[in-house]
Symmetry: C3
């Protein structure tokens, strides 16, 4: 299954950036990829998997540098967008409300905002006004599978254009 | 006061697992146990208290091992469910939307997902489809009272069966 | 631009405590100060800036003590309230739903709740019943610009009195 449709404007912008929406597999048996309440779509926390693999592991301020982490933030955001697109039908119907960016941080690392900017800029570029989100970026002690970045989105279905 | 009613299917399933919903005391004076907006019920972050005591303290990857932490995650989730049940009347009316699992993690601990699975499996077993939740698990530097686990839920009132 | 109006009861209570709502500048270009879905207003994570400067930096259990951090929590909460007030028109129309308090914590620091109490008490004093919020306090490895505290609010527009 894939959430991509060739006519999607947002998917084309994503391709222009060199990315694609990953296909959505069967849900994990212990939780679901998203859940709705009223108009809100809570997307489960996403790691920057590419074809099931993490491109990097470790901490900012340690093994991972900021440009790498910005790319990981973009990849995690894309994975979250793919879930949201599967919820509302296609990426052009996704509006992002809020993004939580968790950055695995060694002692003294204080540049979580710059890492998060990687994801924020991608949302704006790909979704335009629908990508305008409230954001919180924090530094955490560690993340599942030693991922340097994890992203959680709250989205909603965009009003028809 | 207690949220339990003997006829509750979910409460019976919880008892079959060896747990009970704790009674809800008077709210803390500085914040409330839950707050609503539209259909959403935000439950305040819950520690794995049992009768007012934490069964364990410390960090994963340090003093606390994964099976212990899974049990703490179950206990924190039950405390959150008790709050949600008090909000909607009984546990059978609780639908979980999203769970945030905070795992106090020593350097290098990367198995927050397995800890969180303890809580996720309990939600599914006890609530069935109403327990299907989006989830985010992260590793944090520390938690109040040195608790190894803290859980925050967003719930809603389930549609009548 | 300022969100303050002299007639606001809440703004007057804030002044009695020695604080003021900061003016709202132009939004950051990469994300927005708040975003709405249904009745919820998600406020972006706020640092305890005063006139663009952080009054302190570092970790709890390290460079920053609890009374300092409680003051920083109050300042971050006020910055979040200023955003919410700009969203709904004035501070008297703000109802707080949920507060996430991130406390940058050195190893072993376990008193995040006491730090968060600084912000919780301010919300109750300034907003009365509209300040009654669900809360989650956690200890994180680090925060942007080495801030000791960051606060994220979900708010809504209060029902007319």
């Amino acid at each position: 299954m894939t959430s991509e449709r060739l006519g999607d404007t947002a998917v084309l912008r994503l391709r222009d950036l060199g990315y694609r929406l990953p296909p959505q597999g069967p849900a994990d048996s212990k939780y679901v990829a998203y859940q709705r309440v009223d108009s809100s779509i809570y997307v489960a926390g996403q790691l920057p998997y590419v074809d099931g693999l993490l491109p990097a592991q470790g901490l900012l301020g340690g093994d991972v540098d900021i440009p790498q982490a910005q790319e990981l933030a973009r990849l995690a955001a894309i994975n979250a967008l793919a879930v949201a697109a599967s919820a509302v039908g296609d990426l052009d119907r996704v509006r992002v409300v809020q993004m939580l960016v968790f950055v695995a941080s060694a002692a003294g690392f204080a540049d979580q905002s710059t890492v998060a900017d990687g994801a924020s800029e991608l949302l704006l570029t790909v979704l335009g006004d629908n990508g305008r989100h409230a954001r919180t970026a924090i530094g955490v002690a560690g993340l599942p599978r030693n991922s340097p970045v994890e992203i959680q989105l709250v989205c909603t279905e965009a009003a028809p254009a």
